[in-house]
């Protein structure tokens, strides 16, 4: 299979969906020359720096028959538009009794790790997950990125599509043709017996790397990638935890009220899964600070492989696992 970057995969998705459906339009503050040349400046626009207005414009155009893809740029810029997201987009369908659909996709980049500091490095997906009424997507591979963006654009609901900054240039195989990935289905990126590690975005890769290295000790890690945060494929995660009896969740958002908290809650409130647990569940998250600029501090603020490994060892402590019997 051909290998392309996440950025290329996303651009392919945009082109294919715009070709497929002329009601797909797109705008944001940054020009998209490739798309504009192909589809013209009526369907591909750039806007003034007015996130609140152009978010609402996307919503209004969606309610009037179009399928806008609105690019916020960095997710931190979306906070300027938060009223349109919270009070309008997430509520509009239900509040009006379901009389219209609002097929709008909001794209944004997310995450830290590239020294852009607090106002350009944030991973606030849980704030959007908390709102009933938005679908939330966070892919970790080029194939998932392409397939999920295509699904998001075709979905008839407001959808927020998060693009992890550190994954933009990462390559991976992407199937040819109309490759879509269903919204709401988690993916087991690596099967294992001893510990379930749920990773988000960049931390799927990091979890896989740790799993590789622990495999040498005979510790068998299952890496689950939710891919979609709303709807969350709770059953896939629970099923994995019921097999392994142990859960570590890794994400670069601070822990408090995070997606990681939610996954812990989904697992521990389910009686069957709770009973299968052999160790306390663990979060490996960012420190509770705005992301700092200096590389030494930023590295300390964000999770790393050592922390993931330590959490895995904590949940394995005293456990009669493959890993431990092999040692």
């Amino acid at each position: 299979m051909r290998e392309i970057t996440v950025t290329q995969a996303l651009e392919e998705a945009m082109i294919e969906e715009m070709e497929r459906d002329e009601r797909v339009i797109t705008f944001g503050t940054v020009r998209a020359p490739a798309l504009a040349n192909k589809f013209g400046d009526r369907r591909v626009r750039f806007t003034p720096i007015s996130e609140a207005a152009f978010t609402g414009i996307g919503l209004g155009a969606a309610g009037s028959g179009f399928r806008p893809v609105v690019n916020w740029g960095m997710v931190t810029f979306s906070f300027v538009a938060m009223d349109q997201i919270v009070n309008q987009a997430s509520k509009i369908r239900y509040m009006f009794g379901g009389q219209a659909d609002f097929p709008v996709t909001f794209r944004c980049t997310t995450g830290g790790g590239i020294q852009l500091a607090a106002q350009h490095s944030q991973s606030p997906y849980s704030m959007f997950m908390h709102l009933a009424g938005l679908k939330i997507i966070l892919p970790s591979t080029p194939a998932d990125a392409k397939g999920l963006l295509k699904s998001a654009i075709r979905d008839n609901n407001p959808t927020v599509f998060f693009e992890c900054s550190r994954l933009a240039g990462v390559t991976g195989p992407v199937p040819d043709g109309d490759h879509t990935v269903p919204i709401g289905v988690a993916d087991v990126k690596r099967a294992g017996r001893d510990v379930t590690v749920v990773g988000l975005a960049y931390y799927v890769r990091e979890a896989l790397a740790v799993a590789d290295s622990l495999a040498k000790e005979g510790i068998s890690i299952e890496v689950v990638d939710p891919r979609t945060l709303v709807p969350m494929d709770a059953e896939a995660i629970r099923a994995s935890v019921r097999r392994t009896g142990r859960l570590v969740v890794v994400d670069e958002a601070p822990a408090t009220c995070s997606a990681a908290s939610e996954i812990l809650a989904l697992v521990t409130e389910d009686p069957e899964t709770f009973r299968a647990l052999e160790a306390p569940v663990q979060r490996v998250c960012a420190a509770p600070v705005p992301v700092p600029y200096s590389p030494t501090l930023e590295q300390a603020a964000l999770p790393d492989r050592a922390q993931i490994e330590a959490a895995i060892r904590r949940v394995l402590e005293g456990a009669p696992t493959g890993g431990q019997t092999c040692r």
Binding site: I25, R42, R43, R45, T47, P48, S50, A52, A53, F54, T55, G56, I57, G58, L59, G60, A61, A62, G63, S64, G65, F66, P68, D83, Q84, N87, Q88, I92, R93, Y94, M95, F96, G97, G98, Q99, A100, D101, F102, P103, A132, G133, K135, D155, N156, N157
Partner: protein
């Protein structure tokens, strides 16, 4: 009856309907037969009706927290509006929205909005859709004088003008945002003053003169349909009643004198328009009385419709959340 006369009489009927609807809603709310917050449009009828009289059914509007007038003027069904106020399953939003969230997408009414200025970008999106569809449709957003304090007002003016969108900005300057007089929250009371900085026409109009509002709207709409872009229409009117009520009305600190001035026959938009019609021999006092009677009968029927409609079934709580 001539086409012109039919239209004018319908304008009168709508204004009377709006007034009676909201006066009735106040009574219903006092009696706790309806719920939540209520913002009566009484006294401002000429704005909604004058604007919507210049729109087509395929044109789209967004509204505000004070939205009943806009619904009725755009052609909403008062039965379903009333059922919504009663929180019933046959309401426009199946009881999920209430007074502040009535919408009827089928007639181009894209929703009342409980967030000040929140509807303006949405209307701008509808105007973008209209421009892309290229069928000559326009959009209009209603907003209050208070809403001009919000950044979304400014952002939307800028983009709509830049893209020459077929959008009509209708400022309902009723002189107050809740308890605050417009002079106390804006250094310049004249809202049309914003237009030049955005390169669009700003027009001030007597918002209690329904024909003047219709005329100003027609001009703006024609320009918009021709690709000439948006207009900022500043309609000067007055809120007759309290800002809002829940179980009881919010205190209204305005002087009795001021209220009396605006409620007098010379300023009351309905009385004035009745005068115009009578002066042109288009209606008699009996005609007006007949309209009023019909409005009251229709409203009584709407209340009956609403009360007969069941409350939504709690089992349907999750219905309408996501589209398939």
């Amino acid at each position: 009856m001539s086409q012109e006369k039919t239209e004018l009489v319908e304008i009168l009927r709508q204004m009377i309907m709006i007034r009676e609807f909201d006066l009735l809603a106040v009574e219903l709310r006092k009696a706790k037969r309806i719920y939540g917050a209520l913002h009566p449009y009484v006294g401002e009828e000429a704005v909604a009706v004058g604007v919507c009289a210049a729109l087509r059914p395929t044109d789209r509007i967004t509204s505000t927290h004070r939205g009943h007038g806009h619904c009725i003027a755009k052609g909403a069904d008062i039965n379903r509006m009333m059922a919504e106020l009663f929180g019933r399953a046959d309401g426009y939003c199946k009881g999920k929205g209430g007074s502040m969230h009535i919408a009827d997408f089928a007639i181009g009414m894209l929703g009342a909005n409980g967030i000040v200025a929140g509807g303006m970008p949405i209307a701008c999106g509808a105007a973008l859709a209209a421009q892309l569809e290229d069928q000559g449709a326009v959009a209009a957003c209603f907003f209050g004088d208070g809403a001009t304090g919000e950044g979304e007002f400014h952002e939307t003016l800028n983009i709509a003008s830049l893209w020459k969108l077929p959008l009509l900005f209708v400022c309902e300057n009723n002189r107050y945002g809740a308890g605050n007089a417009v002079e106390s929250v804006r250094p310049e009371a004249d809202i049309s003053l914003h237009a030049p900085a955005y390169g669009l026409p700003g027009v001030s109009v007597d918002g209690n003169d329904v024909l003047a509002v219709r005329e100003a709207t027609r001009e703006a709409v024609e320009r918009a349909r021709r690709g000439g872009g948006p207009t900022l229409l500043h309609c000067k009117t007055f809120r007759w009643l309290f800002h809002a009520m829940r179980d009881v009305p919010q205190p209204d600190m305005r002087s009795a004198d001021l209220l009396a001035q605006w409620r007098g026959r010379e300023r009351d938009p309905i009385a004035r328009f009745e005068g115009v019609l009578a002066g042109r021999d288009l209606v008699t006092a009996a005609d007006v009385q007949a309209i009023r009677d019909r409005v009251k009968r229709d409203l009584a029927a709407a209340v009956e419709f609403a009360e007969k409609s069941p409350y939504p079934d709690p089992k349907d709580l999750l219905v309408d959340m996501f589209a398939g």
